[in-house]
């Protein structure tokens, strides 16, 4: 049977952490499963977890008045969703709706924060990874903001 430590080692986000840190983080981890249509989290509720997706797909959505939810981004197996556990006020900024049944490792945010406080080296390592992830998402959002497939970027002949 796969242990949580093994699951963490097999995930691209944390896989190259030292075995000692993986053991430490496994203490904050739990295996979770969600069916299609379920919500991993809802906007405005306490963000006390992050999810390392092993299978499935999640849509990050924002409710737009009168238009129904808009999908901002999708996150799939091998990726991570949730940085709100890291930064105050620790509230989810979006809804996370399951599009394809999800198997994930959920890491408890409060537990992670405590371990980071206790071991600043681990804290820095996790902060570096989440900052890289957040920067990638920001770049992606900027690229979409440019609307590169719109007519403004087309040769107008």
């Amino acid at each position: 049977m796969d242990t949580l430590e093994h699951e963490l080692r097999n995930h691209p986000f944390l896989g190259d952490l030292s075995p000692a840190y993986l053991t430490l983080l496994a203490g904050c981890a739990a295996n979770v499963h969600f069916p299609a249509g379920a919500f991993l989290f809802r906007e405005g509720t306490p963000a006390d977890q992050c999810f390392l997706l092993r299978k499935g797909k999640v849509a990050l959505e924002i409710a737009a008045g009168g238009r129904g939810p808009l999908i901002i981004q999708t996150v799939a197996a091998g990726e991570v969703t949730g940085f709100s556990w890291l930064l105050e006020p620790h509230l989810w900024q979006f809804d996370g709706r399951v599009i394809e049944p999800v198997s994930a490792v959920a890491l408890d945010g409060r537990c992670l924060r405590a371990k980071c406080e206790d071991d600043p080296r681990l804290g820095f390592e996790l902060m570096r990874r989440f900052a890289t992830l957040a920067t990638g998402r920001l770049q992606s959002a900027r690229l979409r903001l440019l609307d590169v497939y719109g007519t403004a970027h087309a040769t107008s002949r």
Partner: protein, 281 residues
């Protein structure tokens, strides 16, 4: 030097082609099936383009978007963004259009053999890559893993949805389709093409990447490919500049030391890199 009378012949002695069929690919994009005049045989290599002339309106370069191995009407996929493309997109079956070509360089299909191939398309960048995809699939055993990553603005802007679905059903082709924005009922991915490079199956050491899309998308995609371990010389892209003559005479499409119509549109990224990053180019 080529005599002037000979040099201008591309515009002379050409029988018009006939619109044999029209396919509405999306809200603003149309594929024209163009039939050459009797006695004219036409062949092209994946990535090459033709100059299409809407009579009385103007001429534009359009990549051939059909199967290079198929005999019959030649497919061109055109987005309605200006006067000439609007005239082309509103042609009716039986009407005529001026065609000269094929022009330009082609995708390095032979050079990519034996390795993995990444095909990365954004928006109307898929049509210029479609002949290459047909070639890859027709000669599947010559290549290792093949991945297609395609991004569009919204689900309604995706081109060739039926074909994408068929390609997704294949076990020997990895297909990732993504859009910039979608409503709740969209079951696919939302994100940009570079986001998905890390998830695609390929070995950077043996991979050849073909990239077409708006220039901003190309630059972000190339950065992501290099981060993933590809070298400049493994990346090929099709670029667009103000092509007018397509024969290297007028100079309108100059990009640094290159004339895109003559030296491109398909370039290896390595020699092009300094010029793509230069504001004045």
């Amino acid at each position: 030097m080529q005599p002037l009378a000979e040099a201008v012949r591309p515009w002379l002695d050409r029988e018009p082609w006939r619109v044999a069929g029209i396919r509405q690919e999306s809200r603003d994009t149309v594929s024209l099936e163009l039939e050459p005049p009797a006695g004219c045989t036409f062949s092209f290599l994946p990535g090459q383009f033709n100059m299409l002339y809407a009579f009385g309106v103007g001429e534009v370069p359009i990549s051939v978007s059909g199967d290079p191995a198929t005999v019959g009407p030649v497919l061109h996929t055109i987005r309605d963004v200006g006067a000439v493309t609007h005239a082309l997109c509103t042609l009716q079956p039986g009407q005529q259009v001026g065609v000269r070509g094929p022009y330009g360089t082609h995708w390095p299909m032979a050079e990519a053999e034996g390795g993995d191939v990444l095909v990365l398309a954004g928006g109307v960048g898929l049509p210029p890559l479609r002949p290459a995809i047909y070639h890859l699939l027709a000669h599947r055993q010559r290549y290792r893993r093949i991945a297609l990553l395609y991004g569009a603005r919204t689900p309604g802007d995706l081109l060739f949805p039926g074909e994408l679905a068929a390609w997704r059903g294949r076990f020997d082709l990895y297909v990732q389709v993504t859009v910039d924005a979608a409503a709740e009922d969209w079951r696919g991915d939302v994100g940009v093409v570079p986001d998905f490079i890390g998830l695609a199956p390929f070995d950077p050491a043996t991979t050849t990447a073909f990239v077409v899309g708006p220039e901003v998308m190309i630059l972000f995609t190339v950065r992501a490919l290099i981060r993933a371990g590809l070298r400049d010389e493994q990346i090929f892209l099709s670029t667009e500049r103000n092509m007018q003559c397509a024969t290297g005479m007028c100079g309108h499409c100059q990009l640094g030391p290159f004339l895109v119509c003559r030296d491109g549109p398909v370039f290896c990224y390595r020699p092009l890199a300094p010029w793509l990053r230069r504001r004045e180019a």
